[in-house]
Amino acid sequence: MRRLFSSYHVRIETRLDNPGWAGVLSSILGVILALIVGGFVMRAAGATDPIATYKVIFKDGFGTPSDWQAGIVALITNGDCPKGSLCFGPISDTLVKASPILLTTLACILAFRMKLWNIGADGQMFFGAWAATAVAVFVLPPTTARPVMLAAMAVAGIVAGFIYGAIPGFLKARLNINEIITTLMLNYIAYKWVEYFVVVGPWSLGDFESTGRFTAAATWPRLTEYANRIPVLSGLTAHPGIFLGIAVAILLAWIINRSRWGYEIRVIGHNPKAARYAGISLVRNIILVMGLSGAIAGLAGMNEVAALRELNGRFQRGYGFTGVIIAWLARLNPIAAILVAFLFGGLLVGTQLIQPQGIASMLQGVILFVVIGTELLFRYRIAFEKVEEIVVHQIGDTQ
């Protein structure tokens, strides 16, 4: 009994050569594909012209060339921003948005480099925000000098984040409890913790669900504070938090690529058995990396309350999850994360006024989906081959 037929066969093969540009290309392709898919979803949601929508998003997120030109002219002539132009407004908003995102991204990158899936940067950020608030409002007197106050808040945020990250780290290292579950669950504890203090509990000012405005010393200086000298800065809320993020990114890049400890992290991340073989302590490093990952997220929390100038019940959730997406888009490279966080900040700012709400989250989700999908295509290759004929013998027919 024989059957003859021809057909195409699809097979998936592992690529042994994985050039560096493939990663960059997959990130870029991922974003482009996500925008296309997002366009179709927006059409389905009733948008008549998705491309126009994207233009609006870009304009609101980054401004237009004529805005920038007007801004630069105003800067040089030391004049006001002309009526009808946004000047640096959108970029300033984007930088404000990008700074917590950059920090949570860096928190994720550090943990992900050791293949520790910390998806609790959100909770660690909340805890950092809570601790920084405690220092600003309840520990230090309002008369404290600004640099001292901000430094103390940063330390509080870092320590709180460290502890909140080290807990799942300890559970992972000692008891081998899956860190994905623990970090995810700890997020909700952190949300409720903050909610208890500012909504129902001891920190709430009456019905305001807020600690109330911090003393000026506990807030980031904003560009608008200098508007009396440089008029074009009027209304700009950009603050030095973005430099904090950039500094941490550079430090992290140095740690991972150049330091002894970074070598340990890379060895463990790539092959924990070889690390054990060499005598590198897994327990110590897992706790330390989770702790430091949490510390960076905690710093994001401090940065955010210093920018918002209060801790309230509407403290934004989700930066920790956005960090996961950007960490992958940046291919776990801290320096690349700076650029991607800025672009993502623009996306978030630009989609704020887009209806229906949730376009930003939808695009984020599609981007992550597509980036991971394209990464698969770069790791494997799909080959089509035409099959001329297949001879199928029945068992027992071979003789």
């Binding site: 002894r260 092959n271 070889a274 054990r276 302590s281 001879v391 068992i395």
Partner: protein, 507 residues
């Protein structure tokens, strides 16, 4: 049986992997009812060629014919449907399932209801027929390696294989088990089965094969040589392209001070069962102590305990005056204690990191590689360039990821890292497993040099020839215990074989 009847024929097989031409226009055919040995060094393309025949790889060019019909296999299922089955070097069994359950895995027979007792009867009958008896209800993990191999052979017979491809089947067996296997193979050829026997061990090939085909660097260097009248040196020359030393040149050992002392060591295996039982041994500076034993008799656990990868249950270990226990800083100790791990790519290296980064694994925490909190990039590079040069590691650059290196070169990277700091003690586990003759010679030479430089070496191997030619003293392990100790010179391979199988000798 007609002389000309071919069980299968492969014509012009070409198979490329990135950077490697694994099979270069290979022709290979077997006659029905013969044992045909496929001989070659590691990396010569033997396994690749047979994986093509067994449907695991698709060739880039070339054709396969069975009964003069051209066939194209897209999966091992299609190959087995044509009567071709392969027993791989690493068994493909589900350890927690029974023998019978493993038999039916992946078969679409029976279609709905699985009546295991029928299968069990069939397995028993098949086992008796081919003298491959195993208990069909036993779980795979309960079986010895030799028994597991029998299950693999039964599995492909059960699927109706007429051609059996055995990839390095003797690597895990005692000499006695090898004899049994060889008798079984003869039984099978008498019943009209055809055997392809992949090996790089010349003795075995001469002993079992009817005809021999030799591969070197992906090409056939000798086809269908009758085994009768062929000598080992001839085959070796065909295999490596030059004459080969079969004995290691070494002087008599000059044992010095006591370096490793183990007293009453007990260790459990991964399942929590005793693996090393009451082992006491000593290794002196400048001697090689070989540990013989069938795989799975506690050698792995012994090596892991001595190198800090496994915690001892009781007993003491001393490195010179230093007690090795839970408080030992193994990272710091890495300088004095070299370890050539059993599994190169699992423990010995970080495949995705570069040659240079792999070469600092044991010394990154000390100057000159360490410079304060950072790594001295220049020192990392110099270290790599020096070692690549001295140990003749062939790699495109020191920044190449080690996963791109061949097995022999990877082992050289590990040896370079482990030996270049003149360690006090070296634990070498299967240091030449899977290496070709050239690389094996280089590794042997290195070990003897280390010994002569005063390193105490504990050599764990399953290659008795290697143990006999390298060791100064021999220890035999069986079921976690030391069952015999003797000077390597003049040791009788038959006696050792009996000890490895648990037979008490000389009592």
């Amino acid at each position: 049986m007609a002389e000309s009847l071919n069980a299968f024929e492969m014509r012009g097989i070409v198979k490329r992997f990135p950077g490697v031409l694994a099979n270069d226009n290979v022709n290979f055919a077997c006659q029905v009812g013969e044992v045909h040995a496929l001989l070659g060094e590691n990396g010569a393309g033997k396994s690749t060629l047979m994986n093509v025949l067994a449907g695991l790889y698709r060739p880039d060019a070339g054709e396969i014919f069975i009964s003069k019909q051209k066939v194209v296999f897209h999966s091992p299922q299609e190959a087995i449907a044509h009567g071709i089955g392969m027993v791989h070097q690493h068994f493909m069994l589900v350890p927690s399932n029974t023998v019978a359950e493993n038999m039916v895995l992946g078969l679409n027979r029976p279609r709905f209801l699985l009546n295991l007792s029928n299968i069990e009867d069939e397995v028993t009958a098949l086992g008796e027929q081919y003298s491959l008896s195993v208990n069909p209800r036993a779980k795979i993990w309960e079986l010895s390696v030799g028994e597991q191999q029998r299950v693999e052979v039964l599995k492909i017979l059960f699927r109706g294989a007429k051609v059996l491809i055995l990839d390095e089947p003797t690597a895990v067996l005692t000499p006695q088990e090898v004899d049994v296997l060889f008798r079984t193979l003869r039984d099978m050829t008498d019943r009209g089965h055809t055997i392809v026997f992949i090996s790089h061990k010349l003795d075995e090939v001469v002993a079992i094969a009817d005809r021999i085909t030799v591969l070197r660097r992906g090409k056939v260097t000798a086809a269908d040589v009758p085994a009768e009248g062929t000598t080992k040196p001839q085959l070796a020359q065909l295999m490596v392209g030059r004459e080969v030393l079969f004995r290691v040149n070494k002087k008599k050992a000059q044992p010095g001070s006591l370096v490793l002392q183990v007293k009453n060591l007990n260790t459990d295996n991964d399942r929590g069962l005793p693996a090393v039982q009451d082992v006491s041994l000593q290794v002196r500076a400048g001697e090689i102590v070989g540990v013989a034993g069938v795989a799975g008799n506690g050698q792995r656990e012994l090596a892991e305990t001595l190198t800090g990868l496994r915690t001892a249950k009781s007993g003491q270990m001393w490195l010179g005056d230093l007690l090795l226990d839970n408080h030992t800083d193994w990272l710091e100790l890495g300088r004095q204690l070299a370890h050539i791990p059993e599994d190169r790519s699992v423990y010995g290296c970080i495949p995705d990191l570069s040659v240079a980064e792999n070469l600092i694994l044991k010394r990154f925490s000390r100057p000159p590689i360490a410079a304060g909190w950072s790594l001295n990039a220049k020192a990392v590079r110099q270290n790599a360039e020096r070692l690549v040069n001295v140990y003749q590691i062939s790699t495109p650059t020191v920044d190449t990821p080690v996963r791109m290196l061949s097995g022999g070169n990877l082992q050289k990277v590990i040896l370079a890292r482990e030996t270049s700091e003149r360690p006090q003690l070296m634990i070498a586990v299967h240091p030449t497993r899977g290496l070709d003759i050239g690389a094996t010679e280089a590794v042997h030479k290195l070990l003897v040099e280390q010994r002569d430089a005063g390193t105490a070496i504990l050599l764990i191997s399953e290659d008795l020839d290697e143990l006999l030619s390298l060791s100064d003293r021999l220890i035999v392990m069986f079921e976690g215990q030391i069952v015999g100790e003797m000077p390597a010179e003049g040791a009788d391979i038959h006696t050792i074989g009996l000890m490895m199988a648990g037979t008490k000798v000389g009592e």
